[in-house]
Symmetry: C2
Subunit: 252 residues, 2 copies
């Protein structure tokens, strides 16, 4: 039987997964943040990424539905509040829909999830099912891609502001809020994983869960690239440039 890594070494192992596999390394993000995306490529990203946003509270509810400890449920509930909103916080999903309007899309069209790429659905639904079916440790470990998110949000805000006319504070408020919200979530999740992955076997499971999650994120960008970038090969039923525009918005 292998010995478990120390807490510090295991954390380093998890962070290495991010350094090697997180989707900030994907060429679509370089293209997006560097200002090389066409307006329609940005729109396709906003439409498809919305499906991920709208599914995340379902994922978190699936997690809570398996947690017997009221304290852990209470701690986790703030993630749902951050996305779905509260009386004093409009929530990430509505913020994303403001981004959708800013890039010229119809809010209701985006919220309908019509036009989302099947590959996006498959990847995102696989994540919700993973959290429903796997151990709680694997579910929490999969959420640790948030360890790597602040960097991507910060460079996204900077890159979008510099390079796209639609980008202003209102349009980008989703990312600014995630910069505030994600650190508390990930501090909790990381501590929980380090506490509970107390054997080599559990550390392997947690690491594999985090790898799975990086695959979920990466494959969404692969699908986006294949459908809309180079050369664009839009699958049947998926959004086509010119569809779902906000009233008054121009086709690009």
């Amino acid at each position: 039987m292998t010995d478990a890594l120390s807490r510090a070494d295991f954390e380093a192992r998890l962070r290495r997964i991010g350094a090697e596999r997180y989707h900030d390394l994907h060429p679509f993000h370089h293209r997006l943040h560097g200002g090389d995306c066409s307006p329609d490529e940005v729109r396709a990203w906003v439409i498809n990424r919305y499906y991920y946003q709208h599914s995340i509270p379902m994922k978190d509810a699936a997690f809570m539905s398996r947690v017997e400890d009221p304290d852990l449920r209470r701690a986790w509930r703030s993630r749902i509040e951050d996305h779905d909103g509260t009386e004093t916080n409009e929530g990430g999903i509505r913020r994303w829909l403001r981004l959708a309007e800013a890039v010229g899309l119809d809010r209701d069209y985006v919220a309908s999830c019509e036009g989302v790429l099947p590959a996006t659905r498959f990847a995102v639904d696989a994540y919700v099912r993973f959290v429903r079916d796997k151990s709680l440790l694997e579910a929490v470990a999969a959420s640790l891609t948030e360890l790597f998110a602040p960097k991507i949000h910060a460079s996204r805000i900077e890159g979008l502001l510099q390079n796209y006319a639609f980008a202003d504070d209102a349009a980008l408020s989703y990312f600014r809020n995630r910069l505030k919200e994600a650190p508390k979530d990930v501090a909790f999740g990381l501590a929980w994983v380090l506490d509970h992955a107390d054997t080599a076997e559990k550390q392997d499971h947690a690491a594999r869960a985090l790898i799975f999650k990086t695959d979920v994120l990466w494959s969404q960008l692969d699908a986006l690239w294949g459908a809309y970038v180079d050369p664009a090969r839009i699958p049947p039923g998926a959004w086509r440039p010119g569809e779902g525009l906000a009233p008054g918005a121009e086709a690009a």
Copy 2:
């Protein structure tokens, strides 16, 4: 094909299910509210009913994990808050643990769910699974036993206060709070079911779901009666009088 009932007739059909099958009709509740339960019978009820309480937020999270509409998720989330608590509300689960202490049980023992009757677990777990697996309409319809709850909470408060030394405002705060919380939930749930059960087939499904839920509640009291009342036949591993007492509490 049968025609759907009118809204009013369908509501009456649902209410009849409560009138005929809700667990306020069970002899255990007559015994409890009438002051005829021994202290150990009350303790057994508190221990087993805790398992139901602690599972309800898991059930509600399972529901939310399947809801794609952020507005519906937001409306439903208050149920979890009511049970698990918020910064300003200790929540129903902690209130139930205060009742446990008031009847002489150790809070941690009750919270551990050790000693819960297997039949209680089977019934309650069946409810969580039902909500995870069935249609959203059936899940909401199953929650409508809350239509019948205010009556039982009110007569419980009155009966317990009259008949048991442990009963005071702090011990019974769970029930008083449910009198406030349940009506808003059930008004929402009933309207949702009446809106969505728009065919005879869906009305049948909703009615069967409500019947299922009355079975879940009733069978918990049957199990309690069989194990602890007349004649008591406590199954292996379940709580036995004298176990799990609060420091200083006396065996009855």
